[in-house]
Symmetry: C2
Subunit: 222 residues, 2 copies
DNA sequence: CAAATTTCTTACCGGACAGTAGACTTACTG
DNA sequence: CAGTAAGTCTACTGTCCGGTAAGAAATTTG
């Protein structure tokens, strides 16, 4: 009874509405548990509209994937744009990432966590988005390494390793951030930079971690 | 035709077989896309057996969750058991984690990646497992901090932050590890310790990262 | 206002799948 | 070799859901 008057809207607008809702529902329930009926209802229309505009459930999901990936990459690029030094670019990128996630949490969840093990087309789309992000971060890390003269010490593999670790940490910290609303994206970034960059700087300087010799364990006392 | 002779097996054994297969299938397909029929067939029995022994699909999933969580925590504890210093315990824990994941990749995936957004019971079980792991790592980080005299500088929140970052990094690195079969759990551990612990050591020593003043950007040249 | 176009709906189909009823079969036990 | 208990199966039900057919209402256009 809640005001059955549904105004007709041009396709462009409806399509975005549908995608908006779909991102929320996919994020909350996961691909399979999300029903097109529910998405349609929350979008204020009926199911055939979804199929008319987005072809299929898979098509709808891919549209979500694409839009959120675009948004994230845009935020990423926009943030690091005029920034010159590698460490500041990494900082800017991380801050953009945390901002994006705190403002588009659903989008990030759909993009990153629910896209595994689905159809070939979805896997491809999602893998591409992932690869784009990783390439971005790997680039930042690599230039950072090179500018600090560590080329001899760290190779491509190491840059990749570090990039994966940073992205994984940032992703996990997303959950932590959700439990600590007082934390700003800036604060998160500062903390993570503190943790990672200082370590890298010193590793590049030659300070490595090696297991210290056991002080009293192996053959001293017993 | 493929040898229809199914030997009868005692409940205990069948139950484990079912769970073994279920972990694989759940990991590959996710909870909703996994069908009990497929699990039963791969386990070499028929569907009613699954229901007889595990109650429901949800019960089956929870059984998987529980068993894999137990295995992981056991590996974790076993590894860090006789190890005395905090940094070595963290090292041992990480190595155990990487070993576990490379040997029980399916289990880890089920445990960590597919358990979100499902029923209340599943969410509870999975959250508990997660919390146990986080508590473990947070403890290692905290003792590490305290032993290095950083208590004044880093509080509970910081230990939690670092723990989340480490676990997230480790999780993401399992993907990287899957693409680099030459990497041993030991190598992964050394790399990650290098990245994290050296950084922490120096942050504790007072070396923080602050955005360097812009060399020429803000108000110098224009 | 009538024709044409676009937006939108109701009502249905077919398949997949969680869960069950009830009987059959092998293996112990005496 | 009966009797019993544990293991197992075939065959079914009801439901949920992706997808579609066929047409009704609004909006634009002549």
């Amino acid at each position: 009874m809640t005001e059955k008057r549904r105004r007709r809207l041009p396709r462009q607008v409806r399509e975005q509405q549908i995608i908006d809702v779909a991102v929320q529902v996919f994020s909350k329930r996961g691909y399979h548990a999300a029903s097109v009926d529910e998405i349609a209802e929350l979008a204020g229309i009926s199911k055939p509209m979804v199929y008319l505009y987005l072809e299929s459930k898979e098509g709808l999901f891919i549209a979500c994937l694409r839009r959120e990936a675009e948004r994230l990459m845009a935020a990423f690029h926009g943030a690091a744009d005029g920034v010159l030094t590698p460490e500041l670019r990494l900082r800017a990128g991380l801050r953009a990432f945390f901002s994006f996630v705190s403002e588009h949490r659903d989008g990030w969840v759909v993009l990153h966590r629910h896209a595994a093990g689905l159809s070939e087309a979805i896997a491809a789309e999602s893998a591409q988005a992932r690869r784009a992000v990783m390439a971005e971060v790997t680039g930042l890390v690599r230039t950072g390494i090179e500018e600090n003269g560590g080329a001899a010490r760290l190779g491509d593999e190491d840059a990749e390793f570090v990039a994966h670790a940073i992205v994984g940490a940032a992703d996990a910290l997303t959950d932590w951030m959700a439990d600590h609303p007082a934390e700003s994206p800036e604060g998160m970034t500062r903390r993570l930079m503190n943790m990672v960059w200082v370590g890298m700087r010193n590793v590049l300087g030659g300070e490595t971690w090696t297991p210290p010799p056991p002080p009293d364990a192996s053959a001293a006392e017993g």
